[in-house]
């Protein structure tokens, strides 16, 4: 009574897509932190998983969340693509929902520049900065 249709140990994994040459399948590299017993330091250990990607929407370099399938789909494929966390080149910041590249926002944060200019000049008038003569030092 061998467990041929047993489920996988890893239910949810996150990894980076490294290959999409197979039809409807993405090759995903998953890194886990493993403790080196002598140095007592954590290092990344890699493992490749194959994931079923029905719509072939993955490109190499995407960060992807995989979900374990209830049973093996084929000899190597035991996971399916749940969602693309970060699409390569089109990273969306989850806090603001805007497109982002490294440390910069690609979309402008403020509404539009014209309103900002008008309010700036109004604010300057309100401040009433005049060039007064400096007091004599004595």
């Amino acid at each position: 009574m061998s467990a041929r249709q047993a489920s996988v140990h890893a239910k949810w994994v996150i990894g980076q897509v490294i290959g999409t040459k197979m039809k409807k399948t993405a090759k995903v590299r998953v890194t886990r932190l493993v403790l080196d017993n002598y140095l007592l330091k954590y290092y990344n250990k890699r493992k490749t998983y194959f994931a079923h990607d029905a719509l072939e929407q993955c490109t190499i370099g995407d960060v992807v969340l995989l979900k374990a399938l209830p049973g093996k789909r084929s000899k190597h494929v035991k996971h399916e693509l749940s969602e693309v966390v970060f699409k390569v080149g089109q990273v969306v910041d989850p806090l603001t929902g805007m497109r982002v590249a490294g440390k910069q926002y690609l979309e402008p944060l403020a509404e539009s520049t014209e309103d900002a200019e008008v309010s700036l000049t109004e604010k300057l008038e309100q401040l009433n900065i005049t060039a007064s003569s400096p007091p004599s030092p004595s």
């Binding site: 890893a10 996150i14 932190l33 954590y42 960060v63 970060f86 806090l95 440390k103 926002y105």
Partner: protein, 173 residues
């Protein structure tokens, strides 16, 4: 002869075992996005440097991944077993604040941890004897003050079986 590295105390078992955060069973993946430069990510950087090894030590089955310089603001994201995602904004916070916050939202409480430790202690009774792997002592001769094993120290003549048998035989006659 001091240890090598910047803060080598991070690499001691005592430091790793002192980790406070033990995640609930439903947490499967933890993702930290932070930046390598900038004051706002300073807390996140310290969190990754000091606290991530402790967290991974206490939660060996949680996958932890770090992403650098992907977004302008740092955040921590957790992926739970039922598909739920928890997003924690970490910008400008001190690394201790981050650990307290994470412990509060997704960590097991101290009460639960104590109860688990107690239950684990109850399983193994130190008064039992048996194989070295599971029990403290194998034989009574290992206890101080008891008769030692005759293989190590010869028994006094009066305790040996052949003397007793001889005495019993001569007294019967």
């Amino acid at each position: 002869m001091p240890m090598k590295g910047r803060f080598p105390i991070r690499r001691t078992l005592e430091y790793l075992q002192k980790g406070e955060i033990v995640f609930k069973k439903s947490v499967k993946i933890m993702t930290v996005n932070y930046n390598t430069h900038g004051d706002l990510s300073e807390g996140a950087r310290k969190f990754v440097f000091f606290n991530i090894p402790q967290i991974q030590y206490k939660n060996p089955w949680v996958q932890i991944m770090m992403f650098k310089n992907m977004t302008p603001s740092p955040f921590v994201r957790f992926y739970l077993d039922d598909g739920e995602q928890v997003l924690v904004d970490v910008e400008g916070k001190h690394h201790k604040e981050i650990t307290h916050h994470v412990k509060k939202i997704l960590g097991k409480t101290d009460q639960v941890l104590e109860a688990e430790a107690l239950a684990k202690m109850e399983l193994s009774n130190p008064a039992n004897f048996g194989h070295k792997k599971y029990f403290l002592r194998e034989c009574m001769s290992e206890v101080e003050g008891q008769v030692p094993h005759p293989g190590l120290v010869p028994l006094p003549k009066e305790m040996t079986g052949k003397y007793r048998a001889k005495m019993a035989a001569t007294s019967d006659e």
